[in-house]
């Protein structure tokens, strides 16, 4: 046995990369090269931003082995309410802090219910998904659709969104990969009992990650309204699914732990956007079948991810026994 610290590249780590590259090349060829035009690439990035921003928050939750399916409605609620406050008061800049605060509050509520009341995150966030959507619909039937205030039109420029997005991505990447918040979250996902027995503040960490997830949804609302120019009736619908897909697509396991990595979120989100955008480029988005194609592709890649991960674990087991049987004295 050599005791070199050499990193081995695992198949399961390559799958998300490979999936992205294959999809990209496929759609480049299928679209006759239109995929690599400057316009397309910009569209790809812009369409990925909302997913990545929300997925950045949910990543922390998934790392702990939980899930937050309330980000979609959270985007809608914080967007609609934040916009209304800005419109009613006439103070345009209030939009940004209001969205963030409302998103954060919903996240805190989720976190409190999960950590203190021990509601499983999956059921809780589904309940939120349904319940909060009702509130949003109710509000919107009264106030209708609103547009970004004149003083805030810079929000709709892609330069602003791209810069704002890069700042957010850098901050979240740092917090997740290089601080205790990320490490502790991974530890909780790996083995919650161990985390607690070592002294990780488990319930505080749970509240924290849901709060981060909520905050990111609040920021997501700003991006969402920036792209469209105002609120819409379907704001954030199915976003939670897209976000969850992006994360799992990137190769993060449902159980979280050390499989949760920041780069996987970026990759997964981009892959999903490539599928959606690529299908529209080759003229399939109008056909009724396009959603089935999306679904089918997702299924294939998720299957590959899980398959390679399983192979890794059985390979590990075999080495485990081999290790056990190789002997020398300490």
């Amino acid at each position: 046995m050599k005791s070199s610290g050499r990193k081995k590249l695992r198949i399961s780590d390559i799958v998300p990369f490979a999936a992205f590259v294959v999809l990209f090349i496929f759609f480049t060829i299928a679209s006759g090269g239109r995929m690599v035009s400057a316009y397309s690439l910009k569209m790809l990035l812009e369409q990925s931003i909302l997913t990545i921003v929300c997925a950045c928050g949910v990543l922390f939750v998934v790392a702990q082995g939980s899930i937050d399916l309330s980000v979609g409605v959270n985007v809608a609620l914080s967007g609609v309410v934040g916009m209304h406050i800005a419109t009613v008061t006439g103070v345009g800049w209030l939009l940004i802090p209001c969205c963030m605060i409302i998103g954060l509050l919903i996240g805190l509520l989720n976190g409190f219910l999960v950590s203190r009341c021990h509601v499983p995150s999956f059921t809780l966030s589904i309940a939120m998904l349904i319940g909060v959507r009702g509130i949003v619909n109710y509000i919107q039937t009264i106030i209708g659709i609103e547009y970004v205030p004149a003083s805030m039109t810079f929000m709709t420029s892609s330069a602003f969104r791209i810069i704002f997005f890069i700042v957010i991505a850098v901050v979240i990447g740092f917090v997740f990969e290089f601080t205790r918040v990320g490490r502790y979250s991974q530890a909780i996902g790996e083995n919650e009992t161990t985390a607690r027995f070592v002294g990780v503040p488990v319930s505080r960490m749970k509240i924290l990650v849901f709060a981060i997830s909520g905050l990111m949804a609040g920021l997501g609302a700003i991006f969402s309204m920036g792209t469209v120019g105002g609120t819409t009736m379907t704001m954030g619908s199915f976003l939670e699914m897209k976000v969850a897909m992006a994360i799992f697509f990137g190769g993060v396991l449902v159980t979280g732990g050390s499989s949760a990595r920041f780069y996987k979120v970026i990759l997964g989100s981009l892959s999903i956007t490539v599928i959606v955008y690529g299908l529209s480029l080759i003229g399939m988005s109008d056909s009724q079948i396009s959603e089935s194609v999306e679904g089918g592709l997702l299924l294939i890649i998720l299957f590959l991810t899980i398959l390679t991960n399983r192979r890794r674990s059985s390979w590990k087991k075999e080495t485990a026994v081999a290790e056990d049987s190789a002997v020398s004295l300490p």
């Binding site: 046995m1 290089f178 070592v198 002294g199 026994v321 002997v327 300490p330």
Partner: protein
């Protein structure tokens, strides 16, 4: 009819390029208690697993009662009268204990596809009674049970097939004294019935005492077989390691030695159903031992001190800074460490890397400005520790579950030594590790003691606490019944007298 229940000749088993078993030949007579001993990774468990039908062998021959024997599954082995209690197989946590006893064999209780759970539970109860074992509540889920109870369930499962040959892989280590006695009685009964037992244990004294024959394995090969009555633990140790064991195993001094400074002050702690009015102090550089039978509450002392259990009365206080410990987070922040008994489920993240496991308790110390955890620093620290503790691995990125028990324990124990600890709580720190690692852990404890770290040593093994502790607290039914100072009265007889 043959006089041997089991005969193995020329058996080989390898995993990849490594041989786990090489040209193994040995036999077990009817009515014989056969011990199998060797260091971690010498191939004992692999050998038993093949006998029990868990893995196929690569080559060689096995005979059961003179008949060729090729088990394809554990169930197949059961039908030939062989059953096994595995080292770390465990039970299904959320199936009732009674169902666990008949796991995989529920068909005999079912009619028209409906399993008669009541009947199954009655049968399970009967198994415990038949073999003189203490039954845990059979309707309860094993998840909430202590390791010991779960082990008893596994034992009952193995016995329920009415085996001619029982394979026990490190069962005693998980049991406390009273249940060990029951297991010994059971083994004696097997012998009287003309049945055989193969058992693996790291406790050499125990093995010499209860077995008839001992076979020693090293590097996957049989080194030799000796008659237990004609050998000594030292001889066995030498055969296992292949050389004379140098140095001392336990502490050599016979008097308590520790600083004046009180590190931890525990006053009148009560935990409902676990502890009652427990008070003690631990001093700088002191090893305070705890021993007692099962349910005496010794393990609860560890969890209570580390802030893991809800204390209904009393206080746990660190004298430096007068800090009251109420949560594990606070304990961690104030340089207290805890090594739990259940290594794989409570202490380690077994699917994560060695690095992640090493760094977890030290992240606060490793962080730089803005909470920055430099990957280089984490890597450096774990690489240093791996080297210092000579953990056998392919690198710090290797997953924990690829390590053997002894190496896992080195990580589990060693990661606390990377910190500037004041107090370290050790709950059965040498459970399931071989003599080599065991001696090493005692050496680390001695070093920690010399550095002034206060330690609480909770152990099911009396010799261990007697060998290492300065003071020994004997517990019974959640209370401390006696405190004995290291010295002349520090003998097993004296302690057992108080324990029971």
């Amino acid at each position: 009819m043959s006089e041997n229940i089991l005969e193995i000749s020329g058996l080989n088993k390898h995993f990849g390029p490594t041989y786990a078993n090489r040209n193994i030949s040995f036999s077990v007579k009817k009515g014989e208690i056969h011990g199998l001993i060797g260091e971690n990774g010498s191939g004992k468990s692999t050998l038993l697993s093949q006998i029990a039908g868990m893995y196929p062998r690569d080559s060689g021959q096995m005979l059961i009662d003179g008949e060729p024997y090729d088990p394809t599954s554990p169930i197949d082995a059961n039908e030939r009268g062989i059953s096994m209690v595995m080292q770390e197989l465990g039970v299904v946590g959320n199936l009732p204990a009674g169902v666990n006893v008949y796991l995989g064999r529920t068909k005999q209780f079912s009619r028209f596809g409906i399993v008669n759970l009541r009947k199954m539970r009655r049968e399970a109860e009967a198994q415990f009674e038949k073999w003189g074992l203490e039954a845990p509540p059979l309707g309860d889920m094993p998840d909430g049970m202590m390791i010991e109870s779960r082990k008893m369930i596994e034992l009952a499962r193995a016995l329920s097939v009415d085996p001619q040959l029982l394979l026990l892989d490190e069962v005693t280590q998980s049991l406390s004294l009273n249940n060990r006695e029951k297991l010994y009685a059971l083994i004696r009964r097997f012998k009287e019935m003309g049945r055989s037992v193969i058992l693996i244990t790291h406790d050499i004294e125990e093995m010499v005492e209860i077995t008839d024959t001992i076979t020693v394995l090293r590097d996957g090969e049989v080194i030799g077989s000796v008659r237990s009555a004609e050998t000594t633990p030292d001889e066995i140790r030498m055969m296992m390691v292949g050389r004379e064991m140098s140095g001392h195993y336990y502490r050599t001094d016979h008097a308590p030695s520790y600083g004046e400074q009180v590190v931890l002050d525990v006053q009148g702690v009560c935990v409902p159903g676990e502890l009652e009015d427990v008070s003690f102090q631990v001093h700088e550089g002191e090893i305070l031992g705890f021993c007692g039978l099962s349910d005496s509450g010794i393990h609860s002392v560890g969890t209570a001190v580390y802030g893991l259990s809800r204390i209904s009365a009393g206080s746990v206080r660190l004298t430096a800074g007068d800090i009251r410990i109420t949560s594990p987070t606070q304990a961690l922040r104030n340089n207290v460490g805890y090594v739990p008994k259940d290594r794989d489920n409570e202490a380690l993240m077994i699917h994560a890397s060695i690095r992640d496991n090493f760094c977890l308790p030290s992240l606060t110390e490793l962080k730089g400005p803005m909470g920055f955890l430099s990957p280089g620093k984490l890597k450096g620290m774990s690489a240093d520790m791996v080297k210092q503790l000579s953990v056998k691995c392919t690198g710090i990125g290797q997953a924990m579950d690829a390590l053997s028990g002894g190496n896992k324990q080195k990580v589990n124990f060693g990661r606390w030594l990377a910190k500037d600890l004041k107090l370290l709580i050790l709950d059965c720190p040498t459970r399931g590790v071989d003599v080599g690692v065991k001696a090493y852990i005692y050496q680390l404890m001695n070093e920690a003691k010399a550095n002034g770290i206060a330690m609480i040593l909770i152990s099911d093994e009396l010799t261990e606490v007697l060998g290492m502790a300065d003071r020994l607290m004997v517990m019974k039914d959640g209370r401390v019944t006696k405190t004995i100072l290291r010295g002349d009265d520090f003998t097993e007889q004296a302690v057992i007298g108080v324990m029971i």
